[in-house]
C-alpha cells in the first residue's frame, strides 16, 4: 500500500480524504498531521460558536470515530517542520515519516498588522478554536470592550458574536464602507445600519495608530486622536497563505504554492490543496473552490482525470438576521449595465450587473430570496436579454409583468413622529390624523395642521403623505423631480435629509429610492451640497460630486485654461499685493482683467500651473477669491466715511468684516454682497443678494436683489442701529438660505418661493437668529480654509499634472 502523508487537517484536506476513502478505501495508508491538537472541523462555522448559537461539537466534521473507522493515522498537535523531497520524508517533532505521495494543506494564517502593541496579551486573530475561546473568555467580564480591526466577513461575524455575548463592540474599518470587496457602497451602508441597530459601533476610514496597555491590551488609538477602550482586540485584517514548508522544500512559489489544474506542485509526488495554493494567479479564501480542489486532488491521487477550474463565488455573512448576498463580478471591465432596485421602507437593495446580455454580478441586501436563481444565471452564463426588463424581480415575475418600484416608498416609510414641516413642527402623524378627520387636500391639511403654511418648502411632502394615505382618490400634482434618477423634488430631498437624518450619499440613494447607483451630474452636486449644509461635522464634502470649477478651485475657460482671482477684502488692496499679482501675471503669461466685483482676474492659466501660481500668491499673503464657487464671491464696497464727504458709516470696514466672516462657506448658488456708505449707493448694493446701505441712524439691510439674467432691486429685510446687528442679520440670512434653498436657486428666487415675510419672521425671532449664526459658525470651522494653500502642497499639486506624459518620448 502506498503511503500518503497529509499535512494539515482542514476543510480542504478533510473533503479530499472523504472523496479518496469513498472511492478507494484501501489505496493508501494515510497519515494526517495537524498543528492544531484536533481533527477537522467546519472552520467557517466558528462564528456561531463565538456567538453561542452553536457549540463546537456541532461543527466537528470528522471525529475520532471517523478517523479510526477509516484507518487514518492521526498525528494531531504535531507540527511538521520540514519536507525532504530527495528522501521523500517529512520531519516533525517526533521524528521522520516517509511518504510516497504528499499533500500540503497548511491553509492560511491570519495577517497581523504590525502595529505598535500588536504583541500585547489580549490581541487575538480570528482563525481557530483557540482564538474563539480567547474571545469568549474575554466576553465573560461585565462591561468588557472589544475592538475589531477589519470590517470584512470575519471581522463583522466576530463583532456580532461578541455583541451577542454582551460586550461593547467597536469595528474599525480602513476603507469607506464595510466589506468593500464583496459589497458596493449602498449595501455597505445598509449593513452598517443593521449592525449599529445591534449596538455595534462602526468607524469607517479608521486608521489605527497603536494598541496600548501595560502588560495587556487596554486601549486602541486612532490617527485622528480617538481613543477606544479595549479588553480584547481582534485582528481580522485578512489572511496569508501558510506556505513556509513548501517554500523551504524548494517548490515553485508565487504568492502561494503553485499548482496545476490537477493540484500537482512542481514536485511530481507533492500536491497541495486549499488556501495555501496558487492556481493560474488566483488565491482562494472561500470554501466552495476548496471543495472543488479536494475533489480534483482525490481523483489525481487515484490516477483519474479531472481538472480544477475557477468558478464564480458567492458570499453570505453569518450574522443572524442580516440578509445579504454578493456574487460574481461587479467591479472591473467595460461594457456593463446596472439594474438597481431599492425599497427604502423594507431596507431592500438589489443591484444586478449585466454585460453582453449575461448577468455577471449581483449584490442584494434585505431580500435574498432570489439569490440562488441569480447565482445560477451568473454561473451558467444564461442569456438574459429576453427578461432584462423584469430580471430584477426574480424568477416569479418572468413571463408575468414586474411590479414597478413605488415612488412614494420613501414617504410611506417615514414613522409617525417624523417631522414634515419644520417651520411649524408638524409630524407625519399629525397630518395622518387630519386626513382621517376628513382633510383630503393640501389646503385643508394646511388649514388644520399648519403644515406647509409658512415657507411652503414641504408642500410636496405633505401631498405625498396625502397620496400614501388616500391612495388613488388623491390626485398628486405633478411636481418636477430633481432628475431622472429619482422621484423627489429638491425640496422633498432637503426635508427628508433632515427628517431621516441622512448623513451620507449612500444613505440618500438608498433611503430615498434612487434609481441609479450613485446619481448623475444633475442630482449629485445638489445632494452633496444639501448633506454638507445640514451635517457639517458628520458629512465630508465630496470633490467628485462637484463640477469642474469647484473641484479645481478655478474657473475653466472655453479653451480649457483657467482663471485665477485672489481675494481683495472689501475691494481693498496694497502696492505689494499688486506687485505680486503683476509678477504672477507675467510669469504665467496671464491676461489681466479688472472685474465688476472690485478685484483682478488672471486669465489663461494652464491647469498644471495652478498650484504654482497659487503658491506664489499665497506667499504674498493672498488667498483664493472663490470666484468659481457656489459660495461667497465678493463684498463690493465704496470708500465710506473714511474718505468720502457723503459717507455716513465705515462701509469699507463693514464690507471687510462681512467678507472675512462669510468667505469659504458653500451656498446653494453664488452669493454677492454690497455695502454702500450712503443712499447714493456707489457700491450698487441694491442689486446684490444682500445689500447694506449705511444711513445716519444705522444700517438698512436689503436682500434678494439680482443683476444677472434677471434684474431686481433688493427688498428691505431690517433696519438696525449697529454694525454687529447688521453682521448678525446678514449671517443669519445666509445660513437660512443655506439650510432651505434649492440647489442653484439664487437668494432672490428662493425668497420669492418662501416669501420675504416668512424670512423676516424667522430672523426676527432672536433665539432662532442666534442659532442660525451658531450653525453657520460651526460649519465655518470646517469649511473656512484657503483651498489654494491646501492644493499648493506637493502631494495635492501632483493631482493637477497629467498622470503621464508621453509627448516627449521618441516614436517607436
Amino acid at each position: 500500500m502506498q503511503k500518503l502523508v497529509v499535512i494539515g487537517a482542514g476543510m480542504a484536506s478533510g473533503r479530499m480524504l472523504e472523496h479518496l476513502l469513498d472511492a478507494a478505501p484501501d489505496a493508501f495508508e494515510v497519515t494526517l498531521f495537524n498543528a492544531e491538537p484536533r481533527g477537522n472541523y467546519n472552520r467557517i462555522m466558528l462564528s456561531p460558536v463565538l456567538s453561542g448559537e452553536k457549540t463546537f461539537e456541532e461543527i466537528v466534521t470528522h471525529d475520532d470515530v471517523w478517523y479510526a473507522a477509516n484507518s487514518v493515522i492521526t498525528r494531531f498537535g504535531e507540527s511538521v517542520t520540514a519536507i525532504d523531497t530527495a528522501r521523500k520524508i517529512v520531519r516533525s517533532e517526533k521524528g521522520e515519516t516517509p511518504y510516497d505521495k504528499l499533500v500540503i494543506a497548511t491553509g492560511s494564517a491570519p495577517f497581523i498588522i504590525p502595529l505598535p502593541g500588536h504583541n500585547l496579551p489580549g490581541v487575538v486573530a480570528y482563525r481557530d478554536l483557540e482564538d474563539t475561546n480567547a474571545m469568549i473568555e474575554a466576553s465573560a467580564r461585565p462591561g468588557a470592550h472589544a475592538v475589531i480591526i477589519g470590517g470584512g466577513l470575519l471581522g463583522l461575524e466576530a463583532a456580532a458574536g461578541l455583541r451577542l455575548r454582551g460586550m461593547e463592540v467597536t469595528v474599525l474599518h480602513i476603507s469607506g464602507h464595510l466589506m468593500e470587496r464583496q459589497l458596493d457602497e449602498t449595501a455597505g451602508y445598509l449593513l452598517q445600519k443593521d449592525l449599529e441597530k445591534r449596538g455595534i459601533r462602526v468607524i469607517t476610514r479608521a486608521n489605527t495608530k497603536s494598541i496600548e496597555g501595560s502588560g495587556k491590551v487596554e486601549r486602541v488609538l486612532l490617527d485622528d486622536g480617538t481613543e477606544l477602550k479595549a479588553d480584547i482586540v481582534c485582528m481580522a485584517a485578512g489572511i496569508r497563505p501558510a506556505v513556509a514548508l513548501g517554500h523551504a522544500a524548494g517548490l515553485d512559489m508565487g504568492r502561494a504554492i503553485k499548482v496545476d489544474a490537477q493540484m500537482r506542485t512542481s514536485d511530481p509526488d507533492i500536491f497541495a490543496v486549499g488556501e495555501c495554493v496558487e492556481f493560474a494567479g488566483n488565491l482562494f479564501g472561500l470554501v466552495a473552490p476548496l471543495y472543488d480542489q479536494a475533489k480534483v486532488l482525490a481523483k489525481t491521487l487515484l490516477d483519474e482525470d479531472d481538472t480544477f477550474v475557477v468558478r464564480e463565488l458567492s458570499t453570505k455573512l453569518k450574522v443572524t438576521g442580516c440578509d445579504l448576498f454578493s456574487a460574481g463580478d461587479f467591479a472591473e471591465g467595460p461594457t456593463r449595465e446596472d439594474i438597481v432596485f431599492r425599497d427604502p421602507a423594507r431596507g431592500i437593495y438589489k443591484r444586478l450587473v449585466i454585460e453582453e446580455d449575461r448577468l455577471i454580478g449581483a449584490v442584494m441586501y434585505g431580500d435574498t430570496a432570489d439569490s440562488n436563481w441569480f447565482f445560477g444565471l451568473i454561473k451558467d452564463g444564461t442569456d438574459v436579454e429576453e427578461m432584462r426588463e423584469t430580471l430584477i424581480f426574480g424568477p416569479a415575475f418572468q413571463g408575468g409583468g414586474g411590479a414597478a418600484a413605488d415612488p412614494l416608498a420613501a414617504v410611506a416609510a417615514l414613522p409617525a413622529d417624523a417631522e414634515i414641516c419644520g417651520c411649524n413642527g408638524v409630524c407625519k402623524g399629525d397630518i395622518l390624523k387630519a386626513v382621517e378627520g376628513g382633510a383630503h387636500s393640501l389646503e385643508t391639511v394646511r388649514a388644520q395642521t399648519k403644515a406647509s403654511a409658512s415657507c411652503g418648502t414641504c408642500a410636496g411632502l405633505v401631498e405625498q403623505v396625502l397620496a400614501v394615505s388616500l391612495g388613488d382618490s388623491f390626485e398628486m400634482p405633478t411636481a418636477k423631480p430633481i432628475c431622472a434618477c429619482c422621484d423627489l423634488t429638491h425640496e422633498d430631498v432637503r426635508v427628508l435629509i433632515k427628517t431621516k437624518e441622512l448623513k451620507s450619499q449612500p444613505a440618500v440613494w438608498q433611503e430615498l429610492g434612487w434609481k441609479t447607483p450613485n446619481g448623475c451630474h444633475v442630482c449629485r452636486p445638489a445632494v452633496n451640497f444639501y448633506l454638507l449644509a445640514d451635517w457639517p461635522l458628520e458629512y465630508r464634502d465630496d470633490p467628485q460630486s462637484r463640477l469642474v470649477n469647484e473641484r479645481n478651485h478655478a474657473n475653466i475657460q472655453k479653451d480649457g485654461t483657467y482663471s485665477v482671482m485672489p481675494r481683495m477684502w472689501g475691494g481693498m488692496t496694497t502696492p505689494d499685493e499688486l506687485i505680486a499679482i503683476a509678477e504672477a501675471a507675467r510669469k504665467y503669461d496671464a491676461a489681466v482683467k479688472v472685474t465688476g466685483g472690485q478685484r483682478i482676474d488672471l486669465l489663461g492659466i494652464k491647469k498644471e500651473d495652478l498650484p504654482a501660481i497659487w503658491a506664489d500668491l499665497n506667499d504674498a499673503g493672498m488667498v483664493s477669491g472663490h470666484a468659481y464657487t457656489k459660495g461667497l464671491r465678493t463684498v463690493k464696497t465704496c470708500v465710506g466715511s473714511d474718505w468720502c464727504r457723503f459717507g455716513t458709516q465705515d462701509s469699507t470696514g463693514l464690507g471687510i468684516k462681512l467678507e472675512k466672516r462669510l468667505w469659504g462657506s458653500w451656498t446653494p448658488h453664488k452669493v454677492k454682497l454690497g455695502v454702500s456708505g450712503c443712499p447714493r449707493n456707489c457700491a450698487e448694493a441694491t442689486c446684490k443678494d444682500v445689500g447694506i446701505i449705511c444711513v445716519d441712524s444705522g444700517y438698512q439691510v436689503g436682500v434678494a436683489g439680482a443683476a444677472g439674467m434677471d434684474v431686481k432691486e433688493t427688498e428691505r429685510l431690517v433696519d438696525v442701529a449697529s454694525e454687529e446687528e447688521a453682521i448678525e442679520w446678514t449671517v443669519a440670512f445666509v445660513q437660512l438660505y443655506r439650510e432651505h434653498a434649492k440647489y442653484l436657486d439664487r437668494p432672490y428666487k428662493w425668497v420669492a418661493k418662501v416669501g420675504l415675510d416668512w424670512v423676516k419672521d424667522v430672523l426676527a425671532d432672536e433665539s432662532r437668529r442666534k442659532s442660525l449664526v451658531e450653525r453657520f459658525d460651526l460649519s465655518q470651522t470646517v469649511y473656512q480654509k484657503d483651498p489654494w494653500a491646501e492644493r499648493a502642497a506637493p502631494a495635492e499639486a501632483r493631482k493637477f499634472q497629467p498622470l503621464a506624459d508621453f509627448t516627449q518620448e521618441a516614436a517607436e
Binding site: 448559537e53 455583541r163 445591534r198 449596538g199
Partner: protein, 313 residues
C-alpha cells in the same frame, strides 16, 4: 445522550392549547393533554371574552402573560388545573399586524422542574424582565430581575435587534456575561428567544430556557418564511435547529443551499405556513422519528408570516 433518551425525562411543558377568536370570544381550536384529559375536557367547555381568563387577558393586553400560580383569580380553570397537578401557565398572543389570530397557552406541571420562561419588554432603550416563571431556578430568577439588555446584547437583546428567533446552545458558557454564571449553576443549557410582535409600540421578547434533566423540549427548530428569503411562494427554510437524537439541524453549507425546505400545507410546519396559526399535535403524521408531541408558533411581521418556531417532545 442515548441514556437520556432511553429513560424519557419528564418535560417541563405538559399541555399546549391553541385558542382562536370566534366572534367576540376565544374558543379552543386544539390542545395536547398527554394524559391530563380531565383538564382538556374543562378547556373544551370554556370560552373567553376579551379580558377574561388567561387567554382573554393576553388578547386584551396584547402581550405575553405568565401566571406563576394557577390559583390566581385570572385563571378560570383553577380547579381542573389543580386536579391535573398543573402549577403555572403562559399565554402568547399571535397577531398579524392589528389582528389577533390566536392565543397559544402552555401549561406547566410540578414546580420542582428547572427551566424558565421569560417575557422581556423594552424600557428606556433596553430590555427589562416583565414576567417570568423559573421553576426552582430561584437564584437565576433573582439575577434575571436585576439584569437589563441593550440592543444586540445577550439572547433577549439579540432577538430584539435582529427581529429574528435565535437558538442558543450552552447558556452556562455563553448566555451573556450577566447571567451566564447563574445560568450555568441552574443547569440551564439551551435557550430559545422569540420576538412577539403586538399591535402597540411595545417590544416583547419571549425566552424559553431549558435544562437537560427537565427539558422544555428535546428538539427545537427555527424556520424562515419571509418572502425576502424564500420568494413569493409560501414556503419555509429550516435555518437552525437542535435535536437530542439527530444533533445539529442547521444548514452546513455557506451559502446555506442545503437548508431543508417545506411548502404550505406540507406536514405540521407547512400547516402553520398555510394557516398562519399556531399548531399543537400529539402523535399523528409528520412528526420527526421518536417524537410524539409538537408545538409550532408562527411569528408575523408587517409583510406576512416571517418565522415558525417549533419545539418537540
Amino acid at each position: 445522550m442515548d441514556d437520556l433518551l432511553e429513560a424519557p425525562t419528564n418535560t417541563f411543558i405538559r399541555i399546549a392549547e391553541v385558542w382562536v377568536p370566534e366572534g367576540d370570544r376565544l374558543v379552543l381550536a386544539t390542545g395536547t393533554y398527554d394524559g391530563l384529559e380531565g383538564f382538556g375536557a374543562a378547556s373544551a367547555r370554556a370560552t373567553f371574552a376579551k379580558g377574561e381568563g388567561l387567554p382573554g387577558k393576553a388578547w386584551a393586553e396584547a402581550r405575553p402573560i405568565v401566571l406563576r400560580t394557577l390559583d390566581d383569580s385570572t385563571f378560570h380553570r383553577a380547579k381542573a388545573a389543580a386536579a391535573s397537578g398543573l402549577t403555572a401557565a403562559v399565554a402568547i398572543p399571535v397577531f398579524a399586524e392589528d389582528v389577533l389570530l390566536a392565543i397559544l397557552v402552555v401549561l406547566f406541571a410540578d414546580a420542582a422542574h428547572v427551566g424558565a420562561i421569560e417575557v422581556w419588554e423594552d424600557s428606556a432603550n433596553s430590555l427589562v424582565l416583565s414576567d417570568g416563571y423559573y421553576g426552582t431556578a430561584e437564584e437565576f430568577e433573582r439575577v434575571s430581575k436585576a439584569t437589563t439588555f441593550g440592543h444586540g446584547q445577550g439572547l433577549p437583546g439579540g432577538v430584539w435587534a435582529s427581529e429574528t428567533p435565535i437558538l442558543m446552545r450552552d447558556l452556562g458558557a455563553s448566555y451573556g456575561f450577566l447571567r451566564s454564571e447563574s445560568a450555568g449553576k441552574a443547569g440551564l443549557k439551551t435557550g430559545l428567544g422569540l420576538p412577539i410582535p403586538t399591535p402597540g409600540d411595545k417590544i416583547y421578547v419571549l425566552t424559553l430556557l431549558s435544562a437537560p434533566g427537565t427539558p422544555i423540549a428535546h428538539r427545537f427548530e427555527i424556520w424562515d418564511a419571509r418572502a425576502e428569503r424564500v420568494g413569493p411562494e409560501k414556503k419555509a427554510l429550516r435555518i437552525d435547529g437542535l435535536c437530542e437524537r439527530e444533533g445539529f439541524l442547521a444548514p452546513k453549507e455557506n451559502p446555506p443551499l442545503d437548508a431543508l425546505s417545506v411548502t404550505a400545507w406540507q406536514g405540521p410546519i407547512g400547516r402553520v405556513l398555510g394557516s398562519g396559526l399556531p399548531h399543537v399535535q400529539v402523535g399523528g403524521a409528520g412528526l420527526p422519528a421518536g417524537y410524539t408531541q409538537m408545538v409550532a408558533l408562527p411569528i408575523h411581521h408587517e409583510n406576512g408570516l416571517a418565522y415558525v418556531v417549533a419545539w418537540y417532545l
